[in-house]
């Protein structure tokens, strides 16, 4: 099966500033990919290109289409939630359902109503009268009722409280995700999506720093907390990043000799968040 998303030399400039610098990546069907990066790294720019919301340079195919030229056609099979609370305030919940049912061939009205029933938000209410968390749940219900091949989420829970964030991801996991879905997600709160992801793409300053599956992280990366006594020998194994922790140093290794590392201390697989910090810091120092 061909990749759902395929980018080659994807570049985006704003004036003289380069937001995306010839990046290559691919998203395979059935995966849940986290696009992770610090503020201003180019995440949103990359997603906007994928969704056809902005023009770009380079090659980009999403579901076999050219997103910018064919956004309307693409949106038959792909959908997105970009940012929090973007539903218009004047719209009533039932009007939103009616409208999407009217224009979207893959929208299932009963499904949306079923999902909304769980949230106890009345259909007659105006979006503007709902809390930020409720707006997000309405948008999620509308989106999950679309039988899309690709779902893109750009900071879908930014600024929501912990209950609303948890509710969002619980609904996504329990009511939406299955092996036929492909999701591309960006968020600052890496910890919250960490166990959902099958793949991660780290991006910093418009370049890709890491692109690998979560299973591969364990095979490729290791972290060891090393005391001062063994620090010199451990550093000889060429860690790419180190940070202090409780009087020791945590050293991060890429494709190490796992047998040798065991001599310095307990070898663990770094979490996605830790690996992200290590990779980005290393990339910036280099």
């Amino acid at each position: 099966m061909p990749p759902l998303i395929e980018a080659r030399g994807l570049t985006k400039r704003f004036g003289t500033q380069v937001a995306l610098d010839h990046i290559d990546f691919a998203v395979e069907p059935g995966r849940i990919v986290g696009l992770i990066g610090p503020n201003g790294a180019g995440k949103t720019t990359a997603l906007r290109a994928v969704l056809g919301l902005a023009a770009y340079e380079g090659e980009l195919r999403v579901l076999g289409r050219e997103p910018f030229a064919e956004r309307a056609e693409l949106m038959n099979e792909a959908t997105f939630i970009a940012d929090v609370a973007v539903l218009p305030a004047w719209l009533r919940v039932e009007q939103a359902i009616e409208f999407v049912a009217g224009v979207h061939p893959r929208f299932r009205r009963e499904r949306a109503q079923e999902l909304l029933a769980k949230t106890e938000i009345a259909g007659a209410r105006r979006i503007g009268a709902l809390s930020k968390g409720m707006k997000t749940m309405v948008h999620l219900a509308l989106t999950m009722a679309i039988d899309a091949r690709l779902l893109v989420l750009d900071e879908p829970t930014l600024g929501l409280d912990i209950l609303a964030r948890r509710g969002f991801y619980d609904a996504l996991v329990n009511d939406y995700m299955d092996e036929t879905r492909t999701i591309l997600i960006t968020t600052h709160q890496v910890e919250e999506v960490e166990n959902l992801l099958t793949d991660v793409i780290f991006i910093d300053k418009g370049r890709i720093v890491l692109d690998c599956s979560v299973e591969d992280i364990a095979a490729r990366y290791a972290a060891v907390a090393v005391g001062d006594d063994k620090l010199a020998t451990a550093r000889a194994e060429r860690p790419f990043y180190e940070r202090p922790m409780l009087g020791k140093k945590v050293l991060y290794f890429e494709q190490p000799d796992f047998a040798k590392l065991a001599a310095f201390g307990e070898v663990v697989t770094p979490s996605v968040a830790d690996l992200f910090v290590a990779k980005v810091s290393w990339g910036r120092a280099a």
Binding site: R48, L51, L53, A54, A55, F68, R71, A72, E73, L74, M75, N76, T79, F80, I81, A82, D83, V86, L87, P88, A89, W90, L91, R92, Q95, F99, V100, G102, V103, H104, P105, H139, T143
Partner: protein, 293 residues
């Protein structure tokens, strides 16, 4: 086509002023007709009674027309800006609807749907007014109560309004296109962006070239130009105003004034149509590229 119906419905959901404003105007006129002081001092000649009544009906319609023109301009200027401002454009763009369809549906609402609503409201209101006024007149004895019931004039007025809606939609297409471009482009202050650049261009032309080409082009496109293009004009300075010698007589034969043939054969009509289409195309391109205010 189905998408267009939904897009237009969506505009009516969002912009309740489309029907609330004409209802308010109609309501205000009805109240005025019911309780206002009516002082028309005329010799009691049937022909002049009829003329005054015709003028009154025309004037009521004109009130709606002026309000409609202002609202339509505002609507076109705000329609592509509002959903960038509240970021809901990120929701609308997740629907399988092209930006071309979005822009054209808004143009349709501004040029056809809004005028149609005002037209219907004006008809309803003038019928009410005619009924109320003729009842009051016949009670007071100032005018013959038949004055307001002139089927021929009524029909002429309908034709006049329809003709005006269609020809203004065509003639002012460059203006509408410009408003859409500003609406799709400006981050804020859409009204200023709509007005200042043409003014600045005129001023710059005057300062550096000492010519007034832009000013005369704009002037020719605005009201004076429209009246010349769309109406047969036998008398110099003939106007639809009370100033002319016998306005009602001219009005009563208003459809003899409609000059569709010369409107359609006027090169200015077609130049305007082409410029308008180009500006609308530009608005669509901007809409494709701008996802944020």
């Amino acid at each position: 086509m189905k998408n267009y119906v939904w897009l237009v419905r969506r505009e009516f959901w969002e912009n309740k002023a489309i029907w609330i404003m004409p209802c308010c105007i109609g309501g205000a006129l009805t109240i005025a007709a019911l309780f206002g002081r009516v002082e028309i001092d005329l010799p009691n000649l049937p022909q002049q009674n009829r003329s005054v009544a015709a003028m009154a009906l025309f004037a009521f319609g004109a009130v709606f027309y002026v309000a409609m023109s202002i609202y339509s301009c505002w609507y076109l200027l705000e329609c592509l800006h509002a959903d960038r401002k509240d970021r809901s454009v990120l929701f609308w763009k997740s629907m399988p609807i092209s930006d071309t369809a979005t822009v054209l549906s808004k143009l349709f609402v501004g040029l056809i749907a809004v005028p149609a609503v005002y037209f219907a409201a004006a008809d309803l209101a003038t019928l009410l007014m005619a009924g109320i006024l003729s009842a009051r007149m016949s009670l007071g004895g100032a005018l013959s109560h038949a004055a307001f019931w002139q089927p021929t004039f009524w029909l002429q007025l309908q034709v006049l309004w329809l003709y005006v809606i269609l020809t203004t939609a065509i003639w002012f297409l460059p203006i509408s296109g410009w408003l859409l471009v500003v609406s799709a482009w400006a981050k804020r202050a859409v009204v200023l962006w709509a007005i200042l650049p043409p003014l600045a261009a005129m001023l710059a032309e005057h300062l550096f070239l000492r010519t007034h080409v832009i000013a005369s082009v704009l002037n020719g496109r605005l009201l004076a130009g429209y009246r010349q293009a769309a109406f047969y004009d036998p008398l110099p300075h003939h106007e639809w105003s009370l100033r002319a010698g016998d306005p009602a007589a001219a009005l009563e034969s208003s459809w003899r004034q409609l000059d569709l043939a010369s409107f359609l054969s006027n090169p200015q009509t077609w130049i305007g149509l082409i410029c308008g289409a180009a500006l609308i195309g530009a608005a669509i391109q901007l809409r494709m590229r701008r996802a944020e205010a």
